[in-house]
């Protein structure tokens, strides 16, 4: 479902992503972990066809991101923390217009909106203009927009940032429910406890490099730590130590 080989991205002399390779299969929630600036957003933007990689290749749902960007975009749904909504449109109008972009008929769109209303508890939000939404309401509609076409790969980039406890719980439950055959969820966060709750496997990125990939219990065993956060620090310290020794 996701195949990344030797992916790199540079901006001038700054390297945002260096030689990253990983794979993820259907039916899993795959976490991308790392602090701010680790390269998570750059990696996800490449997968979403918004950025071109400097080197390497990636395929999403069997489509190469460089050669078949439109097919990739049909297969994905994207949510990031900075995404917004047109303030003067209602949630329902936003969802209908995006359903149209994916070739859905009005009837199909309305059926899907009803399903998402039930799953995300959208309620009156649907017929309220987005300019009047709270952060939580907005994020629910942003998620509904991303999954309006039931994508094969759902990309969530810091999707829980800024959410209150209720909205965050709805999001995490939704991600957990999205784990099903034929579907892959990529969940990027710097909050390790979120990853521990919803992710099956994780990749840890630090300063643009892949530190490790594996199932959470496996990483905990390998590092001898009790929590993913401690495991992350142990791995990163090890990496920084190697870098210092090498220099």
């Amino acid at each position: 479902m996701l195949d990344i080989q030797n992916l790199s991205k540079t901006y001038g002399r700054y390297t945002a992503l260096r030689d990253v390779s990983l794979t993820a299969g259907e039916g899993e929630v795959f976490g991308l972990l790392g602090p701010n600036g680790a390269g998570k957003t750059t990696l996800l933007r490449i997968l979403a066809t918004l950025l071109q990689p400097t080197a390497g290749r990636a395929s999403v749902a069997g489509h190469d991101v460089g050669r078949e960007p439109e097919a990739v975009r049909r297969a994905i749904g994207v949510v990031n923390g900075g995404m917004g909504l047109p303030a003067r449109l209602t949630g329902r109008e936003v969802l209908r217009s995006f359903a149209g972009f994916y070739g859905m008929t009005r009837a199909q769109a309305d059926t899907r909106v009803a399903e998402l209303d039930a799953a995300l508890e959208l309620g009156r939000t649907l017929d309220t203009r987005a300019g009047e939404y709270s952060t939580g309401m907005k994020q629910k509609v942003v998620i509904a927009r991303a999954v309006i076409h039931d994508p094969q790969v759902l990309i969530l980039d810091e999707a829980a940032s800024g959410l209150d406890i209720f909205a965050r719980r709805t999001l995490l439950d939704f991600v957990a429910a999205a784990r099903r055959p034929g579907r892959l969820t990529l969940y990027s966060t710097h909050v390790m406890s979120e990853a521990e709750e919803v992710c099956d496997r994780v990749a840890i990125l630090h300063q643009g490099e892949l530190v490790t990939v594996g199932a959470i219990p496996e990483i905990l065993t390998r590092t001898g730590e009790r929590t993913l956060e401690r495991a992350f620090f142990a791995l990163v310290r090890g990496m920084d130590g190697e870098a210092t020794r090498a220099s």
Binding site: L50, E70, R73, L85, L89
Partner: protein, 415 residues
């Protein structure tokens, strides 16, 4: 490009624009109010002011004495057969210092004859000094104009009297009379000052209508974080640009349509307000004008306006996609209004310029000249096509530039 996807992008932007009260005001209300105000209200006001001067009795100061027939001519009212005053005479008041009396506002003008004035033609020449604020339109068209006209008539009367004594008629004074005949086509003659106002107002309203949608659909989308969601959908970048261009052009044309409605409203009001208003109506007509369009002229105007709207929309989208925010985009596009106003003002001097065919091939400026020609009724098909073609070519190039920007990471993620 898929037309259905283009329309989906456009309708999303249009719906957002339609729900913005500020945009609706600038798109619909302002053209409907401002055009009648500029094209009828101001000329009507000016016509009334100047026409009103004829009925007003101005005060004119006099130093010393004036010949009795001249005093009588100055103070006499001109009346219509019904007895109503067409042109009131002036009130003569004695003053000591004519300059001071005018400057203090005690009188509207003042007269001083350094030496006694002749009362018979041929008895030497006299000089009559007229003190007035000559840069002041009220003084120029009021007291000064009345004194000037009266003294000219007085001179003529004296000359005619003297010629009569010699057995010669008044026609001796004018062996050759000049008969000016306006050879300009009727449409040009009737267009008046409107001819210059229409290109200025139309393009300015197109710009203001387009601005709201273009900025919101580009920099506004970036700022809100909605552009990224659009770009990860299966809509192609070319369809995104075309959709935004379509939405912006539709808003611009809606504004242009309401500006045309403003001109029509002006016509209706003009007929109602000026009917039976005599001299004032003529004055108003001189400062305003009347828009007459033939079918061909109307079609040329439509083509020019649509192509200009497309070009202005393309400029706005190509510029504002670079901006990080709506506010930043406003600073980028504000100088554009100068780019419209300055050439439009230059059009007033177009009579002094020899405009070659090439002028019509300058994007936007060619449209202004073409609109001016349409209003005056002398636009040729070749010139119309040049103006439309130049706009369409400009819109295409800028559309391609905008498309390139929508593909550039450093532009899309500049915020």
């Amino acid at each position: 490009m898929r037309p259905d996807q283009i329309w989906r992008v456009a309708s999303r932007d249009l719906l957002s624009t339609l729900r913005d009260r500020r945009t609706l005001t600038s798109t619909i209300l302002i053209p409907l109010l401002l055009i009648p105000l500029f094209t009828l209200g101001l000329p009507l006001l000016l016509g009334n002011f100047i026409g009103g001067q004829a009925q007003e009795r101005q005060k004119v100061g006099v130093v010393g004495t004036l010949p009795a027939p001249l005093r009588t001519a100055l103070t006499r009212d001109e009346t219509a057969p019904g007895g109503s005053v067409i042109r009131a005479g002036v009130e003569l008041v004695p003053v000591e210092d004519p300059r001071a009396a005018v400057q203090s506002g005690e009188v509207d003008a003042a007269l001083r004859a350094p030496a006694p004035l002749p009362t018979r033609a041929g008895d030497g020449a006299g000089e009559l000094e007229v003190y007035a604020k000559l840069g002041n339109l009220r003084a120029q068209t009021g007291a000064f104009a009345k004194v000037q006209a009266t003294v000219e008539a007085y001179n003529r009367d004296l000359a005619v009297q003297r010629l009569g004594g010699l057995g010669l008629g008044p026609q001796t004074l004018t062996p050759v009379t000049l008969s000016p005949i306006d050879a300009s086509p009727e449409q040009e003659r009737r267009s008046g000052q409107l001819a210059f106002l229409i290109p200025l107002l139309m393009l300015n309203f197109i710009l203001s209508g387009a601005m709201a949608t273009a900025l919101d659909a580009t920099a506004g989308e970036k700022e809100r974080g909605t552009l990224e969601s659009l770009l990860v959908s299966p809509v192609r970048r070319s369809e995104v640009v075309a959709g935004k261009l379509l939405a912006t052009t539709i808003t611009a044309l809606t504004t242009a349509l309401f500006s045309v409605a403003g001109f029509l409203l002006t016509g209706v009001l003009s007929r109602t307000l000026l009917a039976g208003n005599g001299a004032n109506a003529e004055l108003t007509q001189a400062f305003g004008g009347q828009l007459t369009l033939t079918l061909g002229g109307g079609l040329a105007l439509l083509g020019t306006v649509v192509s200009a709207a497309l070009l202005i929309s393309a400029i706005l989208i190509a510029l504002s996609i670079y901006a990080r925010s709506y506010k930043e985009a406003q600073t980028y596009v504000t100088p554009l209004s100068l780019a419209i106003v300055f050439p439009a003002v230059l059009l007033q001097f177009s009579d002094f310029l020899t405009l070659g065919d090439g002028i019509y091939a300058i994007p936007l400026f060619g449209s202004m000249v073409a609109i001016l020609d349409v209003v005056r009724g002398n636009l040729t098909a070749g010139h119309a096509l040049s103006a439309i073609g130049a706009n369409l070519l400009g819109a295409l190039l800028l559309g391609l530039l905008a498309l390139r920007s929508f593909h550039r990471e450093e532009v899309i993620f500049r915020n």
